[in-house]
């Protein structure tokens, strides 16, 4: 199945079928070709092509000075990127798994997010931090986390999460060209789960714009990243019961496209937010508050949240208990309909 029902490739001359991992790689390749100041750094991004092969072939194309295998040092990857970005380079840093970002938090929150503001615009850090995130691949401990909330409560970042190959390529290109630090969360569960038609030529997808990826009129499912596909599955399942669900793919979490969320919810009157991160203080709560503040009188039922639980992400055998499923989403939808 295709995640994008609207033909996003219309108007592009040539397309090819790519996975998200390939689309990410192609975005870096295109941007490095376009702009000599773009470089890639991280653990195993060079000769190995990245543990997910998302940098495959880049070192052969651009050499070790622009595709830099770093020592095992997450804080240095980000700290060096701050130094590089502040002096004219555009680093695209890879944190191998989002679960390993903690050592770099001081550099991210303490410096990258703050530089523009604290110098009143004199110094900026145009950098991208790519982080494979989320569960569903049965990995060892610390490889399944979704930490977007950490960064959404830290002003100064843009936070982008693609859900399909077309968006992955276009959003990453936009992130690399952006003059602010962008955290680019890659849904590793669907890195290679499917292929979509992706233009072979460079293009951007604007940061800060959500997309209605499945139209419906009784309930709005709001999600991002790997969960968008699960929402599609839930919408298909609900359609067989004659329940019409709309799916909004946020694509960017900060800055948030409020208009698209509110327009959809005001049309359907019901909303279910779906995310992998734990529920309490998760971004779903923020979206529910936003809908409450702006669209309360359009609502037929309270906003529901289908999320990870407030527990440590389970190891492989219990992963299925944690992650939102189409059944959990469908049950939440029915709760809003039965209210």
């Amino acid at each position: 199945m295709s995640t994008a029902e609207i033909d996003v490739t219309a108007g592009h001359a040539a397309t090819e079928k790519l996975t998200i991992a390939q689309a990410v790689r192609d975005a870096m390749r295109d941007e490095m070709t376009r702009d000599e100041s773009v470089l890639v750094l991280g653990e195993d991004v060079g000769i190995d092509g990245g543990v997910f092969r998302a940098t495959d072939g880049l070192i052969e194309a651009f050499g070790p000075e622009r595709v830099i295998d770093t020592p095992l040092a997450e804080s240095a990857i980000i700290g060096m990127s701050v130094g590089l970005a502040a002096t004219g380079m555009r680093p695209v840093a890879e944190i191998q798994f989002m679960g390993f970002v903690y050592p770099a938090i001081n550099q991210l929150l303490g410096h990258a997010a703050r530089m523009r503001n604290r110098t009143r615009g004199r110094m900026t850090v145009p950098m991208v931090v790519r982080m494979p995130y989320g569960g569903g691949i049965h990995p060892p401990e610390h490889h399944s986390e979704s930490y977007e909330t950490l960064f959404l409560n830290t002003p100064g970042f843009k936070v982008v999460v693609p859900s399909n190959p077309y968006d992955a390529k276009g959003l990453l290109a936009a992130a690399i060209r952006d003059d602010d630090p962008v955290l680019f969360m890659e849904p590793k569960r669907i890195y290679r789960a499917f292929r979509d038609q992706v233009p072979t030529t460079p293009y951007t997808v604007p940061i800060g714009k959500a997309a209605v990826v499945h139209e419906g009129d009784e309930v709005t499912l709001i999600s991002w990243g790997a969960m968008v596909r699960v929402c599609h599955d839930a919408a298909d399942m609900l359609a067989r019961e004659n329940i019409s669900a709309e799916v909004v793919d946020l694509r960017t979490l900060n800055p948030l496209d409020r208009d698209t969320i509110l327009q959809s919810v005001e049309k359907t009157g019901r909303a279910v937010v779906v995310h992998e991160a734990p529920r309490t203080n998760g971004f779903g709560g923020e979206i529910a508050a936003l809908i409450g503040e702006h669209s309360l009188l359009h609502l037929q039922a309270p906003v529901q949240r289908v999320t990870g639980f407030d527990v440590i992400f389970p190891l492989a055998k219990n992963e299925h208990l944690y992650l939102p499923t189409r059944d959990r989403i469908a049950a939440a939808v029915k709760k809003t309909l039965d209210f």
Binding site: L39, E65, R66, I68, T70, P71, A73, S75, A76, I78, G79, M80, S81, V82, G83, L84, A85, A86, T87, G88, M89, P103, N106, Q107, G110, H111, M115, R116, N117, R118, T119, R120, G121, R122, M123, T124, P155, G156, K158, D178, D179, D180, G208, N254, P255, L256, R258
Partner: protein, 357 residues
Amino acid sequence: MPRTQVYHAITERLEILDTEGAVDSELMPEFEPDVIREIYRDMVLMRGMDSKALKLQRQGRMGTWPPIRGQEAIQAGVARAMGDADWLIPAFREHGIMLLRGVPAHLIYAYWAGDERGSSYPEGVRVFPVAVPVGSQWQHGTGVGLSLKLRGEKAAAVTLGGDGSTSEGDFHEAMNCAGVFKTNSVFVIQNNQWAISIPLHQQTAAETLAQKSHAYGIPGLQVDGNDVFAVYSAATEALDRARSGGGPTLIEAVTYRLGDHTTADDASRYREDSEVAEWEKRDPILRLKRYMEINGMWDEAQEQALAEEVLAWVDLQVANLEEMPPQDPRDIFTHMYSELPPHLKEQMGEVLGEVGS
């Protein structure tokens, strides 16, 4: 199988100017008397700026200020060795070198008085803003050094930090990566022997901080940090190495924090006055003055004239500070992103509503 020695290291210390003003003529860098007088003036200016800030703080016209008293030789010596294309990455006790590298004093004051415009330096000033999270700046120094190397600039990134910051993980990562990538970096530890209340021996079991360089495969050197000639000489050697592709250097400059950690600290709670008095005798400014007097470069009239010049200069800096127009309340939002996103536009409206603009 035998047990053999696989590594052996020696760490050197460089001293040129002693406390009585005598120099080692073989090691003494070549300076015209005018340049030596300029270096002296640099140090006296720093001390003037520092002393005034302490007064302003007591009068409620300045926020928390970390004094640099006693550390002027490091900052003047390194600054003198630097060139126009070199970058400076300071921690937060580096006002002196920031001043010498082109940051106007009234902006340094403004930052510590609580105004972000104080970190918005004039175009072309290659200085990073103050880094408060201890040790975090070492990583930027590696990144900037890498940036200069990749772009083939014959320039170096000079990063300063305190002895306490060498205990942070970021110090290790920065030195390690600088060594691996042979970045155009010079790292200068201002070892003032106290990290707030923690003396050096509680910070590390290592005999020196310079010797840590061995573990990263980079050259290291200890210098008398109250000896401006030794600091200059070590910095020049390190800068030449960095600019010519020879990679990074770690310099430990041993000095002493004559003042409190900041104006919010009372050092008498944790250290003896007698220790401070001992280090007052090794004052870097006094030492250079003795050298100039012995060598007929300086007299009481010149000293008096300089003191007056510095007082007037400091007053002018304070006037510049206090003449800064108030900040626009919108400024706390304006510089968060390259473009103001809708939610910040809305929040800006809330602030403007409250302040009635």
